[in-house]
């Protein structure tokens, strides 16, 4: 599968400027809702600091907390599975489904299963997964990946949804009324919930102290799936652990406010033990996380609680769309997670940023996202994941800027040439000039002025 680089994909996205404006404004609206919600809570910054410290503590003691969680979960009656990577995760989930003799099942939102490409894998085994989160169901119908971790179909307008539902759910053509469309989705999904023997969910928080898991949704679709099914499979990355149930008072307050500006998600569902004659399977997945934990500069990216605030605030994301990041997790956080899994494929992502630093400052767990983007750039270049043209350009610049006399000489003559033959820089080959005028070169540099007037 060929991957289109972020800059190119973003260019295509922006080619439809009215749509880009709409995407930008919609997500900026969510960012503003977040600002408002955060401003209403006393001690927001202290809460962020607290969350960050808890997560740092967990990452430093992850082995012990995982063992504690497993022990307590087993005591509660859950069945624990460990998966080293995406493939093992998919095999385990497939094994459970196969044992249950099921070929169709429901799944609520789980970025981990997106990361592992579970749907695709199961489909190859003859098993159909019905995503029950409304946004995810929309993109699933369209055979698209989610473009945002919290708002999977944010790249689509209601007209797009109407067309998709007309095709797949036989709704009225051209009826764009959101109430009508969600009503149709509700009817459709209700049938799936009732019939499904297996329900897969993600995990927002896994509490070591209790062995319980917490799943946050706004649609109640995780609960609907789990309560109707015989078998609940909960898939989680190893970093989802928090030490105590009391820590939820920190994270649940931060999560929804950061994500959508709500004080709390509509449903915060706590699962501790399976009901009688039912099964609760918890699949705990590494898939590169211990490798990231072993990178001192990047380990704290594992603090992420997947709120999506860094997406909504990112001026680049808002204007390039989630699909331009060609990774299950897009946006700034995706750009520091993705190179850990595949440097070559994701070498463009840490460069899809102006390093403005907004992401690091909205992050509810204080991940230094923009600093990590900078650090990934250094690594990617050292590992050779850089275009030859860029490398030569940088080497030439470094050569010039390391030699004061040459720098002054080149500056002087460069400006003279720009003045007398502007076409040499003001041409189509210069990406700056495509949509911007070049700065007007002055007769004298500051250095030349200084020598003449001050020395």
């Amino acid at each position: 599968m060929g991957t289109v680089e972020h800059a190119k994909a973003a260019g295509r996205f922006i080619a439809d400027e009215p749509r880009t404006n709409w995407h930008d404004e919609t997500l900026w609206f969510v960012r503003q809702k977040r600002d408002h919600a955060a401003s209403l809570l006393n001690g927001w910054e202290e809460l962020r600091e607290r969350a960050s410290q808890i997560k740092n503590h967990v990452l430093s003691n992850l082995d012990q907390y995982l063992i504690q969680f497993e022990k307590n979960a087993i005591a509660n009656g859950a069945i624990i599975h460990w998966a080293a990577d995406a493939e093992e995760h998919n095999q385990i989930v497939h094994g459970i489904i196969k044992n249950a003799g099921v070929t169709r099942l429901v799944k609520s939102k789980s970025m981990l299963t997106e990361e592992c490409h579970l749907n695709h894998f199961l489909s190859g085994q003859g098993i159909e997964v019905v995503d029950t989160d409304l946004g995810e169901r929309i993109v699933q119908f369209r055979k698209e990946p989610p473009s945002h971790i919290v708002l999977p179909a944010i790249h689509l307008k209601k007209q797009d949804v109407s067309e998709t539902f007309h095709e797949h759910l036989h709704t009225e053509k051209g009826n764009n009324d959101p109430n009508y469309l969600t009503g149709a989705a509700r009817q459709h999904l209700r049938n799936e919930f009732i019939q499904s023997k297996v329900a897969i969910t993600g995990v927002n928080f896994a509490v070591a102290e209790t062995g319980g898991i917490v799943v946050c949704t706004n649609e109640g679709n995780a609960d609907m799936g789990v309560h109707a099914a015989k078998i609940h499979i909960a898939c989680m990355g190893i970093e989802k652990i928090i030490p105590k149930a009391g820590d939820l008072s920190v994270f649940l307050r931060l999560l929804a406010r950061s994500a959508t500006g709500q004080p709390i998600t509509t449903y915060s569902s706590h699962f501790h033990r399976p009901d009688k004659e039912k099964q609760l399977h918890i699949v705990i997945v590494d898939n590169g996380r211990t490798q990231q934990l072993g990178r001192p500069d990047f380990r704290n990216s594992l603090k992420c609680i997947r709120c999506g605030a860094c997406f909504n605030t990112c001026p680049v994301y808002r204007r390039s769309g989630g699909h331009s990041y060609h990774n299950a997790v897009a946006g700034p956080i995706g750009s520091i997670l993705a190179p850990n899994i595949d440097m070559r494929k994701n070498a463009d992502l840490p460069f899809a940023s102006t390093l403005c630093g907004s992401c690091s400052n909205v992050c509810p767990v204080k991940i230094d996202i923009h600093d990590q983007l900078w650090k990934w750039r250094q690594i990617l270049v050292k590992e050779g994941h850089v275009a030859m043209g860029k490398k030569i350009m940088m080497q030439s610049m470094a050569f010039l800027l390391s030699r004061p006399k040459l720098y002054r000489f080149a500056g002087k003559w460069g400006r003279k040439i720009m003045q007398s033959v502007p076409i040499l820089v003001s041409n189509k080959l210069n990406p700056w000039y495509k949509q911007r005028e070049m700065p007007e070169p002055p007769k004298q540099s500051f250095n030349e002025w200084y020598k003449q007037n001050k020395k």
Binding site: C356, S358, K382, Y407, Q435, P439, P441, F446, W449, Y450
Partner: protein, 244 residues
């Protein structure tokens, strides 16, 4: 107090008036200013592109030029931040550390070190303030919309001391302009779109000028304004503070 004037390479070559205004302002305030003639570039364009390992000579030159001053002052938040965060010298770590702590962006130097209370400046225009990210979020020259902390702005406080000025803030008070160093050419489409959106907000406020603590943001916005044929001009903060 001996001040070393650190003029970023693109200001030296394209915007000498910003260097002149910075120098004149510092001298007006009684500083003894020293301008090392052999300075070139802080190394940021290479480092932010992933080539920090090519900036060794830039680092050495910077330390050589500025090691004997009390403060290093620079009319750019971005270049200042680069020095503060990334200046290293394996052979002279203590010296590099000292230099990193001595460097100040112009508006923070006026506010925190010189504690400027009054300015003899006059600028009778409507000015839109662009908050440059590296100065704001990197150096902390002002508060930011992401954090729930009390508002302050060193550059805007200085601008408010200018007679005749009418300051305006765009709707999104601190969104990035999209320059981003080499981002502006390697991610040309997004970069320009971000700049166009900034320009649009200032146009809605009907400003005469857009100002900032970073000429690089302004160079990018200026390019977009000129291509549009807009009447709005760009001007560095130092030039306004030095206006009569």
């Amino acid at each position: 107090m001996k001040i070393g004037l650190f003029i970023p390479c693109y200001i030296d070559q394209f915007y000498p008036q910003v260097g002149i205004a910075s120098l004149q302002l510092l001298e007006k305030m009684g500083c003894k200013v020293f301008f090392p003639l052999d300075q070139t570039c802080c190394g940021q364009p290479m480092a932010n592109s992933g080539f920090a390992h090519l900036t060794e000579t830039c680092n050495t030159l910077f330390i050589d030029h500025f090691k004997d001053v009390d403060y290093i002052v620079c009319p750019s938040g971005s270049c200042t931040l680069h020095i503060k965060e990334h200046l290293i010298d394996d052979g002279r770590p203590a010296l590099a550390d000292r230099v990193r702590h001595q460097v100040f962006e112009l508006s923070e130097f006026f506010t925190d070190i010189l504690k400027v209370e009054k300015l003899d400046a006059f600028f009778p225009y409507k000015v839109g303030f662009h908050s440059s990210c590296h100065g704001q979020r990197g150096l902390g020259v002002s508060s930011m919309s992401e954090r729930m902390l009390p508002y302050f702005s060193k550059p805007e406080s200085l601008l408010q001391k200018v007679k005749g000025i009418q300051l305006s803030t765009p709707n999104r008070s601190d969104e990035c302009c999209g320059f981003g160093g080499t981002f502006c050419v390697f991610e040309e489409a997004v970069s320009v779109k971000m700049g166009k959106d900034r320009v649009m907000e200032h146009e809605a406020n009907d400003v005469d000028y857009i100002t900032a603590v970073d000429m690089s943001c302004l160079m990018h916005l200026e390019g977009i304004l000129k291509r549009k044929g807009s009447k709005i001009k760009t001007i560095h903060l130092a030039e306004i503070l030095n206006s009569k």
